[in-house]
């Protein structure tokens, strides 16, 4: 149904181009999370191992460093594809606005370059550097992760709330100010939200691997540490993320009211609006939803009688597809809340008894938390990206007007689907093998 909605009345390239971009971004972002968060977790483990002279922790750090190498390689190649696609698929965006918001990608290029160099240094230098120099060589990766994430997210935040330029009467960009464009109203909230999400995804995913191991009876020091360290990181970050979620929802309400209305599937502008969970949006109405009275007004305005704008305020041609956005948003918040519960469970038992909860249900919960965190993050990106539609640059340029009219563009989607199916399969195969066999090498290491 969704597909038909997009195909009708738009250029034939729009739908495949959007799906190709969504697939490429959705794939890359998982690996980008590891690029942002994994170095910090790995070097922390290495440092603990070194300080306590704990060979098990050092071995764990080395194993993770290798996995980081594989994940970084997958992230690097998928990121390269994105840099091609930006121009190939969306020339209307890059050709017209490249001078305004293309700039942070230059900074990101440097950040990525530095990270690529130090991933090589860190892995290759495992036996070649002193422990101290080796741990220090991880710090540029951590810094590059922060800078890179900020730059890429700031470009996306610009698409949500374009600033830093003027349009003349013909619609041409004049007076482009790229530094100002990087610091629009959405930038900080989006960046912090994504940076924390990277730590949640990485932390829960790694912990889930060791939870599976422990469920299979491997409860040694190695597996316990492999679960505890990343889970602690993720558990500390999760409550902070919920608070940041409130912040970003307010930013969206102020700057992109149509997106917020779609997230809540709210048609009528309402004072004292309730928060709707689930349901199907049809004919300007949400059916079968569970509603918590006044909750939306409370969340957005911190006032039970606050007025929340509905979709009716926007012309029909400027409303995002409601069901996708609403469902994605609910999924993200739902999973986030569940992860908060898991973090609280873990935190409480650890605080009172200094140990993990004994029940296997805890390990089962951790075992699924990784995939859940990934789904939540993807749902968040779907919320913000589909929620911006029909605009690629909010209020200024429609996605349909930005897509390339080149004939045959849709075959790119077929090719990318094929390549990513193969790539995903092999990434999983290699990571599994890396987990089983200690002698397996990461791509950046030399011969054994």
């Amino acid at each position: 149904m969704l597909a038909l909605e997009f195909l009708a009345g738009t250029a034939e390239n729009l739908y495949p181009a959007r799906m190709q971009m969504a697939l490429s971004l959705g794939w890359h972002i998982v690996f980008a999370c590891f690029g942002i968060a994994f170095p910090a977790i790995v070097v922390f483990t290495e440092w603990r191992g070194h300080r306590r002279d704990d060979a098990v922790l050092t071995a764990l750090a080395h194993k993770w460093a290798k996995a980081m190498g594989v994940l970084f390689a997958a992230g690097a190649v998928s990121g390269t594809l994105l840099s091609f696609e930006m121009g190939i698929l969306w020339p209307g965006l890059m050709g017209r606005f490249g001078e305004v918001f293309g700039f942070p990608f230059v900074l990101e290029g440097f950040a990525f370059f530095v990270e690529a160099i130090f991933v090589g240094v860190y892995l290759f230098g495992w036996n070649r550097l002193s422990p101290r120099a080796h741990m220090l060589s991880a710090l540029p990766m951590v810094a590059a992760g922060i800078v890179g994430a900020f730059c890429v997210v700031s470009a996306n935040a610009w698409m949500n709330n374009p600033t830093g330029f003027r349009l003349d009467e013909q619609g041409n960009v004049v007076d482009a100010r790229p530094w100002a464009a990087m610091f629009g109203p959405s930038t900080w909230a989006q960046f912090v939200h994504m940076w924390l999400a990277a730590f949640m995804v990485t932390g829960f995913l790694i912990a889930s691997v060791y939870a599976v191991g422990m469920l299979r009876g491997r409860r040694d020091h190695y597996h316990r540490a492999g679960l505890l360290i990343p889970l602690t990181v993720a558990a500390i970050i999760t409550p902070v993320q919920i608070g940041v979620g409130d912040w970003i929802a307010n930013v969206v309400a102020d700057n992109q009211p149509a997106k917020l209305a779609a997230m809540e599937a709210q048609y009528e502008t309402t004072a004292g609006a309730g928060l709707s969970i689930g349901g199907v949006y049809r004919d300007n109405e949400l059916h079968y939803a569970v509603e918590i009275p006044y909750a939306l007004s409370l969340l957005i305005h911190h006032d039970p009688d606050g007025v929340v704008l509905g979709l009716e305020e926007f012309p029909a041609g400027e409303r995002p597809p409601v069901n996708v956005v609403h469902l994605a948003y609910n999924t993200m918040v739902g999973i986030g809340t569940a992860l908060l519960g898991l973090a609280a469970w873990f935190g409480l038992v650890w605080w009172r008894r200094r140990r993990l909860p004994h029940t296997a249900w805890f390990l089962r919960a951790v075992a699924v938390s990784g995939v859940a965190a990934v789904v939540a993050m993807e749902a968040g990106w779907i919320t913000t990206e589909v929620g911006r539609q029909p605009w690629i640059v909010y209020g200024i340029l429609r996605t349909a007007d930005a897509v390339s009219p080149a004939p045959g563009l849709g075959w790119g989607l077929v090719a990318v689907v094929g390549v990513y199916t193969v790539l995903t399969t092999f990434t999983v195969v290699v990571l599994r093998r890396l987990a089983r066999d200690r002698a397996t090498l990461a791509p950046q290491e030399g011969q054994r």
Partner: protein
């Protein structure tokens, strides 16, 4: 020199770095492809793997660097070029994915069958990717990219004599650079047989590249007259420099002076690219769009230059550190958890 020319010069420098480092990397894959059967080619393949393992990711960031500078500083021309040439560019991007993933994963998989499959994917995409990139350059250099979005012929813009020449030269240059770089690496590690084998490959590829380059003059004359005029006019000193550096590199290879041969080879390749740039100057997109017309606003260009200068201050020491460290052998210090 205008501000726009400085920014374009920076992007061009990135392209040269990509041709030299990324090019050698692709070339390594080409020699992997031609190394023969699993047993016979093992020594060569191991050598190549050891040489490019830690640096291949960094080598390919140069291309991303070129892209982001172009789309920020020359947005419209960039959009025009990548939409008209989207087919070879997409193929090159997919080739990079196949190549990077196959290279990264092949030593992490167990069965010989899987290793052969990854090895073949790596080697084949190492051959095809530079060919497509060279074809893209050929399309731009022969004036087949009009300045509007997807205005050019999406097939004939890269299926034409100049693109065929560009693609072939790109593959040859990559293979040549790799062979020269690998001579030095092999000798450093005391593998004199391999050094000799790569020396022979380097000499052969140099001869073939020279022959194709000569034949290319006729192709350009017929197919890309504007570029031809530029190369034989204003660009002639650069072309001659390229020939001289190439001949010098040949001589140095013959007397086994590998380190200096690397420098001479790099100079020859840089001069080929510089010849293209000088021959095409002052146009970004032949035959009409000039550098200054294509450039974006002054504030953006200044921001770009600031970022590029600051970024290089961070990047260059890091790169030098990587290459220096990489020349250092493992000290086998028994670190807990180390697998070596």
């Amino acid at each position: 020199m205008t501000l726009a020319e400085v920014v374009l010069g920076a992007a061009f420098t990135g392209l040269v770095a990509y041709a030299l480092f990324g090019g050698a990397d692709f070339g390594g894959g080409v020699w992997d492809l031609l190394a023969g059967g699993t047993e016979r080619g093992r020594a060569v393949r191991d050598r190549i793997e050891r040489s490019i393992g830690p640096v291949w990711e960094a080598n390919h960031v140069w291309l991303i660097f070129v892209f982001v500078v172009l789309w920020t500083g020359f947005s419209r021309a960039f959009a025009a070029a990548v939409t008209t040439l989207y087919i070879p560019l997409t193929l090159a991007a997919l080739g990079m994915i196949a190549r990077g993933a196959a290279f990264a994963y092949r030593k992490s998989v167990g069965t010989p069958g899987m290793q052969r499959f990854f090895g073949a994917a790596f080697a084949l995409s190492s051959l095809l990717t530079p060919f497509f990139l060279g074809a893209v350059v050929g399309g731009v250099a022969s004036g087949r990219v009009p300045p509007g979005i997807a205005e050019g012929d999406v097939v004939r813009s890269w299926v034409n004599p100049t693109s065929l020449l560009g693609g072939t030269l790109a593959v040859l240059v990559c293979a040549y650079l790799a062979a020269v770089f690998l001579c030095g690496d092999a000798r450093r590690d005391g593998e004199h047989d391999l050094a000799e084998a790569f020396r022979l490959r380097a000499l052969l590829t140099a001869a073939v590249t020279g022959a194709v380059g000569l034949a290319g003059i006729a192709v350009l004359r017929a197919d890309a007259p504007v570029l031809f005029d530029g190369l034989t006019g204003r660009g002639l000193p650069v072309v001659l420099l390229s020939v001289a550096a190439g001949l010098a590199a040949l001589g140095l290879l013959l007397v086994r002076r590998y380190t200096v041969a690397r420098i001479a080879s790099a100079l020859a390749v840089t001069a080929i690219l510089a010849g293209w740039a000088v021959g095409q100057y002052p146009y970004v997109l032949l035959p009409e769009l000039t550098v200054d017309e294509a450039a974006t606003g002054r504030t953006t260009l200044v921001a770009l230059l600031t970022a590029l200068s600051a970024g290089m201050l961070v990047l260059l020491p890091a790169l030098v550190y990587l290459y220096v460290l990489f020349q250092r052998p493992a000290d086998h210090r028994d670190r807990p958890g180390a697998c070596h």
